[in-house]
Amino acid sequence: MSRVETETAASGKPKEADESAPGPDTNRTLVQILSSQGILIAFGLFMLGFGLFSERFLSLENMESVLRSSAIIGVMALGVTVVVISGNLDLSVGSMLSFGTVMVVDLHDKIGAAPGIAVMMAAVLALGCVNGFLVGILRLNSLIVTLGMLSAIQGLTLIYSGGKNVDIDPSSQDTTWFKVFGRGDIAGLDMPIILFGLLAVILHCIVAYTAFGRRVYAVGGNPTAAVFSGIRRGRVVFSTYVISSFCVGVAAIILGSRVMGSQNNVGQGYELLVLAGVILGGTSLLGGSGSIFETVIGVLILGFIQNGLLLLSYPYYTQWIVTWFVIILAVWLDIAGKRGRLFSPIA
């Protein structure tokens, strides 16, 4: 499960052939191992470390708890990974989650669970199309477009709800089938985890094994070359945003079902957590590389860091600092792997 890279992306920088420092080969091999399997090694060390200090950490109950609470961020991160591989960003997912959750919870009592889900998914997909149109077809900068959408969608949410919190009628919370997405389980395995896993497998197959997936890598790795190879860049980018919004829709269903209510700003700040998971997994923000599988690991590391520090009774601000530290470390290892060495005088 190593990183998939297009030819165009890999050949972006000339390799330095002459390395006069002693033992360049060992250094390079180490770096290569770190960069290709670094995330898994870090993950293993991490689990071992926390496992030594807290007996509960490696318990089945805790594993399930972390997986369950990572599922919402995780589902969103899957979609964002596809966008990032294509060389763009999606910062609108946080407020899109707020929008979707408010809508699906509100519509549950008004028109029923299934129609509510359908309407919400249609609305969220439409927002994805707007992103896709602006970035893919009009070729506007994705940072600006999705940052703008971040506040625009938050505004839409407030207009929709009038600022009120929405809740599913408490008397029907235990009886509605809608609860299956957030509170149900199959053979003891929680539904959010199953949905996260299922979506991860599907998207992994799409990204790694289909022509569409290869086009996404090509567009992210070298858009000019991709266009000259006959790839319709706009169409590919458009699709990545639709995929991203679909994932947000699924996350909104899980969240709404888990909490049985929603605040207008429930997804506030989630975009950064999602992006952190994607980066931590090793998907490059420059585009053209990364994988769904790595994002799953990245999201889990993020979840386990927070959980582990909490079990060891560290105050919350330690979590913020450690999370930041781990992300920087991951980015460094990623860039070092691309350069072929840990330190480099050139960028």
Partner: protein, 322 residues
């Protein structure tokens, strides 16, 4: 450009003055709110404030909202000073950052009433009054509720024992700090046998609190009570306990009674909370502002009553709208 700006400022000042003169017998109250629409409390507050102002004779209200943006709130303060309103009510977006703007109003001779959450202490000299809930008292009330909840049948609450966890509000937010402080101080007095094992922030977010509580449930085999900084987070904790089948063992105490908390109380799953009405909050702020504008004496900390609400007395309260 400069002349245009000066001219604009001058004309604004003139119209402002003319406005104030022509209504010399009416009191103009300007309010700049924190972030209307972001939650139901603030939405209801604004509606109540407008209704209360309409219901008062000779009172006109200029309603502004900063949208959570400090810079916009400071600009709105300047606008209200320019308009020469009789009194300014401010719901601070940030207790520290708005102090210079409050000072400017004070120097312009316009009294300022702070509503809901107070500004930083260095600004106290520049405000006429603070109108809002007493969050330290609320925390203390919650501590007393916790003692009652953990006391066994016939036992005096002061002799209650147990192990509890606390889910606090957003770190750095005055309301969160004051409630936590009030709770911890009063708990140590009211029932020293109850121990707070751990405190983690839930950021006023139900989903976040649900996750925090899930971690607590894994970590501690025995939890006797949960104190949450508001009911929204409290219901998140309740959801987590429900999923783990541990509701029966745990007493849930909140603050700022939300509709969901009220309903959970009615269902017998939630022990109690603190009833804080945005309508009372808004009316108290307007009354304080009008009194200040009329030159009447008002207490510096003009609190409105936020009583305890439990499963027993909940019938005396209407279900919160938020």
């Amino acid at each position: 450009m400069k002349t245009i700006l000066t001219a604009l400022a001058a004309s604004t000042a003139l119209t402002g003055a003319a406005f104030a003169d022509s209504h010399s017998d009416t009191i103009t109250v300007g309010i700049t709110q924190n972030n209307v629409g972001v939650d139901s409390y603030q939405t209801t507050y604004e509606q109540a404030f407008i209704e209360a102002a309409e219901g008062m004779e000779n009172v006109e209200a200029v309603i502004l909202d900063a949208g959570g943006d400090v810079a916009r709130q400071i600009a709105q303060m300047q606008d209200l000073i320019q308009q020469q309103v009789d009194v300014i009510v401010i719901w601070p977006t940030n207790g520290q950052a708005v102090v210079p703007a409050v000072r400017a109003a004070n120097q312009a001779g316009i009294p300022v009433v702070v509503t809901n959450s107070n500004i930083a202490e260095e600004g106290f000299d520049f405000i006429a009054s603070f109108s809002g809930p007493n969050n330290i008292q609320q925390g203390a009330y919650s501590a007393e509720l916790m003692c009652e909840a953990l006391a066994e049948d016939g036992q005096d609450p002061s002799e209650a024992t147990g192990q509890i966890v606390q889910i606090s509000g957003q770190p750095g937010y005055t309301t969160a700090i004051e409630r936590q402080g009030g709770f911890e101080d009063r708990l140590a007095e009211a029932c020293p046998g109850v121990e707070i094992m751990e405190t983690q922030p839930g950021d006023w977010n139900r989903e976040k609190s649900q996750r925090v509580m899930e971690n607590f449930l894994v970590k501690y085999d025995r939890i006797d009570g949960v104190y949450s900084g508001d009911d929204n987070m409290g219901v998140g904790a309740l959801n987590a306990a429900k999923a783990a089948d541990r509701v029966g063992d745990i007493a849930f105490i909140g603050a700022t009674n939300f509709a969901v908390g009220y309903e959970a109380m009615a269902a017998g799953e939630y022990y109690g909370s603190i009833y804080q009405s945005p309508v009372d909050d808004a009316r108290n702020a307007l009354d304080t502002a009008v009194a200040v504008a009329k030159g009447e004496e008002v207490p510096f900390l003009n609190y409105f009553e936020t009583p305890k609400i439990t499963q027993e007395n909940m019938d005396e309260f209407t279900k919160p709208v938020f």
